[in-house]
């Protein structure tokens, strides 16, 4: 069965911009083909999958064909006794005190995506569905923005719960580059593995540029002992957007600030916070403290 749609209708249905729908079609996220009359067509089952992904009810019901009988749907019932001693959170405020009102789900911008929302996550935790929680990617699509917590009348620690669930994902199955970044940082001093020589050359080069552009006499201070402020760096800047570092440098120039960047362990972004890796997080923070001591600085500036 074919589902025919106009871009504008689908955009309205999912609350996104028309171009977003076009981009999704282009990238294959929506498996649709152009049909006659500025309309697109896709398989009805693909449309249904899309609705499921974003927690929407299909606007157009499937007509004809066989429907699954109701009693065959749904997971097997959960035996509560099986979860005793299987809790993975330290106290009741992480899940048990939840009133199941669903306010958190209303506050969450991705409630419904993958059929999940904060209320369901909290219920799953209370029921001890550890494997299901650890294996769902929803936990990583969530941005831990805490809108749910802000809305919760019982002050359930939803974000801490999410982070704990993230920490239980086997490290080689952490989606995207954030665990790789943590390993890079531990082994090479920054998330993107920028070699020390390249970094130092870049700092000097950019400093000279800034001096020519608008700040005569400027040079980038590296490893200056006794500087008032140690400045840490988000590695994406030296890696991809080096000119962006100059804005802060220009401000330091204007204020006559006494500041420095460390030649080693200068990374200011700690991905252990997001990947749920407390040990790595502590190690990386410890290195910054060591830099503070070594360079005898008074203050520390974080990149954001």
């Amino acid at each position: 069965m074919i589902y025919e749609f106009r871009v504008i209708d689908l955009a309205e249905e999912f609350g996104v911009h028309r171009n977003t729908i076009r981009n999704w079609i282009k990238s294959g996220a929506i498996p649709a083909k152009e049909g006659p009359g500025r309309r697109y067509i896709m398989d009805w089952s693909d449309y249904q999958r899309l609705c499921e992904k974003f927690g929407k009810t299909p606007r157009m019901p499937r007509t004809g064909g066989m429907q699954k009988p109701a009693q065959e749907q749904g997971p097997p019932p959960i035996k509560l006794k099986a979860v005793e001693g299987n809790k993975f959170y330290p106290d009741a405020t992480w899940a048990d005190i939840c009133l199941t009102c669903g306010t958190c789900a209303s506050a969450c911008p991705i409630a419904g995506v993958d059929g999940l929302d904060p209320r369901k996550i909290v219920r799953m935790a209370a029921l001890g569905l550890t494997d299901e929680l650890v294996n769902t990617d929803w936990i990583w699509k969530c941005t831990m923005c805490a809108k749910c917590e802000e809305a919760c009348p019982m002050d359930v620690k939803i974000v801490q719960l999410i982070r704990k669930i993230r920490s239980m994902r086997p490290r080689d199955q952490v989606p995207g580059p954030i665990h790789k970044g943590v390993v890079n940082c531990l082994e090479r001093g920054n998330n993107l593995g920028i070699p020390k020589d390249d970094f130092l050359f870049l700092l000097e080069d950019l400093g000279n540029e800034l001096a020519e552009e608008c700040c005569p006499g400027f040079s980038t201070p590296v490893d200056v002992r006794g500087a008032r402020i140690l400045v840490t760096v988000n590695s994406k800047e030296p890696f991809a957007e080096p000119d962006d570092m100059k804005w802060w440098w220009k401000i330091f120039y204007a204020t006559g600030e006494s500041w420095t960047i460390s030649s080693e362990n200068w990374e200011g972004v700690n991905w252990g916070l997001f990947s749920g890796d407390d040990e790595a997080l502590k190690t990386i923070v410890g290195r910054i403290v060591d830099n503070m001591k070594r360079l005898n600085c008074e203050g520390l500036l974080l990149p954001e």
Binding site: S27, C145, K147, E150, K246, W247, W248, F274, M292
Partner: protein
């Protein structure tokens, strides 16, 4: 350790410079309507974790540089996430990330602002490089410190 060293967020340091009169700002450079994005980590989450949310600091500095200011609704602790926090900017779930950001895009659109100030790397990237294109916002996006740097009247030094 915390007694020995002072930890500066970008807000603390910029506000220190501003309050001590160490930066001279030209208010004529950014005349366009400007709004301010509250990052979850510095606002809502900082308030809960450390007892202080950085809500006003960023606004004081933004308004000092761009006087034609308007807030999004809701804002401060009620603000919506850009959609890319918590590592999501780097995650392989682009479709979901853009879908997440639809509320942020709408919030920005409703202010009619031409310039959006983001004091967080992650939020700035999502708003500038993703939402701006996906939702055709037609906005300019700057870091808070970029706004300050672009507004600076530099001292004459020899």
């Amino acid at each position: 350790m915390l007694e020995r060293y002072k930890i500066y967020s970008v807000f603390d340091l910029l506000l220190e410079y501003y309050n001590e009169g160490r930066i001279n700002i030209n208010r004529e450079i950014h005349k366009q309507r400007t709004t301010y994005h509250d990052p979850c980590n510095y606002g809502r989450k900082s308030l809960k974790t450390f007892g202080h949310g950085y809500f006003e600091e960023g606004r004081i500095i933004t308004k000092a540089c761009a006087p034609n200011f308007v807030d999004m609704e809701p804002n401060r602790e009620g603000n919506y996430c850009c959609g890319a926090g918590g590592g999501a900017w780097a995650m392989p779930f682009k479709t979901e990330r853009v879908f997440y950001g639809r509320i942020k895009a709408r919030q920005i659109q409703e202010t009619g602002a031409e310039l959006v100030i983001a004091p967080c790397h992650n939020c700035r990237d999502q708003i500038k490089k993703s939402l701006n294109q996906e939702y055709q916002l037609g906005i300019e996006v700057k870091y808070l410190w970029e706004l300050v740097a672009d507004s600076l009247v530099l001292p004459v030094k020899n």
